[in-house]
């Protein structure tokens, strides 16, 4: 894993009832590493008992490296990370973050960018606007949220996009018709979607049905479920057996037991934590492994054992 950066919380803003914005400045020096629109960082959050590593998209301008901004939604079923940030984190506190990484980069040569955000999935788009999606691209944005408690960034987006922003408030019965939206797009459009899995799957499905080539459909799963039924894992090289609780990932369980596995995204996309799987049925939740690899490898950051079976790893 890349070396961590020490930052301090310079300000906390309430953007919406459930969403807080944190402004992070470097503890040493005056500049943070450069990043491209769509990037995220991983925060290391220590509460009294546990260490959480949560990924958050950067919402600040890539042209201003004096600070990073992130927006955190309080998750009702939070394992602790977002709750701690909302309830215990104060201005002046310090924490460690990973350098920025990007699995949701915007193509440079888009004729048109169609942005679709669901709820807090709006965040990776916020660093895009100073850059305007590359050269002279058209941008239309469709922003779906439950109600006002989720509606961060609407006025900021309205300032940037004017009439090219369409909002859909689900509590008022407003719906985004993805099939119709995609069918009206001109040739050369790239769609970028971030939000709940259901929204992403809907966009991907409709795009496939309309014959959009894969290279034009970009998505970032905002949250990948890493929890599930508890299971155990045996490490072949040491013979150790480790129990993975229902509310922790396989990767976290390994780390808790002092077994280091290189990792980066914690979302099943980067491939860094790819680990040889020697035995046992895996429930693959990643977006990285090819189907042909799935009998031999597992991505412990998101994937687990199927049917609470035991897995044997080449560790």
């Amino acid at each position: 894993m890349n070396e961590l950066l020490r930052v301090s919380v310079a300000a906390i803003n309430q953007l919406a009832p459930d969403i807080k914005e944190f402004i992070l400045r470097p503890v040493v020096g005056s500049e943070l590493p450069a990043f491209s629109p769509g990037s995220h960082i991983i925060l290391e959050i220590h509460d009294a008992k546990n260490l959480y590593r949560n990924a958050y998209s950067l919402t600040s301008s890539p042209f201003d490296r004096s600070h990073y901004r992130i927006a955190v939604q309080l998750q009702q079923d939070s394992r602790g990370g977002s709750r701690y940030l909302h309830q215990a984190m104060s201005v002046g506190d310090q924490l460690d973050i990973s350098p920025p990484n990007n699995y949701f980069a915007f193509e440079q040569y888009n004729k048109k960018c169609l942005l679709i955000a669901g709820g807090i999935g709006v965040t990776p788009f916020m660093s895009l606007f100073p850059d305007k999606c590359g050269r002279n691209a058209d941008i239309d944005m469709h922003y779906v949220f439950r109600d006002q408690s989720q509606a961060a960034f609407v006025s900021k987006l309205r300032d940037q996009l004017g009439g090219r922003l369409s909002c859909y408030q689900r509590s008022q019965g407003q719906r985004l018709d993805v099939a119709r939206l995609l069918s009206e797009q001109p040739l050369g459009t790239h769609v970028y979607v971030c939000g709940p899995e259901r929204l992403i799957e809907d966009v991907r499905h409709q795009a496939t049905m309309l014959g959009w080539p894969e290279s034009t459909v970009h998505f970032e799963k905002f949250a990948v479920a890493t929890n599930g039924a508890p299971f155990s894992v045996r490490l072949k090289k040491t013979g150790r057996s480790i129990k993975v609780a229902e509310d922790e990932s396989l990767l976290d369980a390994l780390h808790r037991n002092g077994v280091e596995v290189r990792h980066l995204c914690r979302a099943g996309v980067c491939g860094e934590c790819k680990t040889a799987l020697l035995q046992g049925p895996a429930e693959h939740r990643d977006l990285y492994l090819a189907d042909a690899e799935k009998s031999e490898f597992i991505m412990p950051c998101v994937s687990r054992a199927r049917n609470a079976a035991e897995l044997v790893l080449d560790l």
């Binding site: 040739l187 795009a207 496939t208 014959g211 080539p213």
Partner: protein, 186 residues
């Protein structure tokens, strides 16, 4: 040359993407017969652009005949009419399909939205690396460059961007001695 080096495209029969709602076939005369075969598979949601400077008759309703010089402008003006999920199929001489491919990429059409199939003659266009003139329909190497008069050795190295093979001065240290001309294969 090691066999595992591939400095020119390998062609396979293109497959019509049946998942797509709209299909655009662009062919020259040499690709037109094959285009007709493929058109039969896509019912109505298609357009065919035949690029030729000669008079052809018996074309179906969804075919448009264009002169080669007009293709670029036609694409620039018409491409916005096609829906986002359209697929492009380029058929014909190697130089033709790759020049058309470049024109489509310049219009921000993704690579995986375009399929190509080489049809007809195996003549090559040859780009002179000295004067940058492209020599059309070359069958033998070396070939005398139309631009600078140099005798060019035709390398098996193809530029998709230029739709051409690279041509270098043959026997550069002793240009008076020319090797025998060889027929270019495939």
């Amino acid at each position: 040359m090691h066999r595992h080096f591939f400095s020119k495209p390998k062609y396979e029969p293109l497959v019509v993407n049946t998942g797509s709602r709209y299909h655009v076939f662009i062919s020259d005369e040499q690709g037109f017969q094959r285009t007709r075969e493929l058109l039969a598979a896509v019912a109505n949601n298609c357009q065919c652009l035949l690029v030729t400077d000669s008079d052809l008759t018996g074309m179906s309703e969804n075919c448009v005949k264009l002169e080669a010089d007009h293709l670029q402008v036609y694409l620039e003006q018409q491409v916005v009419r096609f829906p986002a999920g359209s697929r492009f199929y380029l058929l014909g001489r190697e130089a033709f399909i790759w020049k058309t491919y470049s024109a489509l990429l310049a219009l921000c059409i993704p690579r995986d939205q375009c399929a190509v199939e080489r049809c007809g003659s195996i003549e090559r266009d040859v780009f002179c690396v000295h004067c940058r003139v492209i020599n059309s329909a070359v069958t033998h190497s070396p070939v005398c460059c139309e631009g600078c008069g140099r005798e060019l050795y035709v390398y098996d190295h193809f530029s998709k961007r230029l739709g051409s093979y690279m041509g270098f001065q043959v026997n550069a240290e002793c240009v008076a001695e020319l090797p025998e001309k060889e027929l270019l294969m495939s």
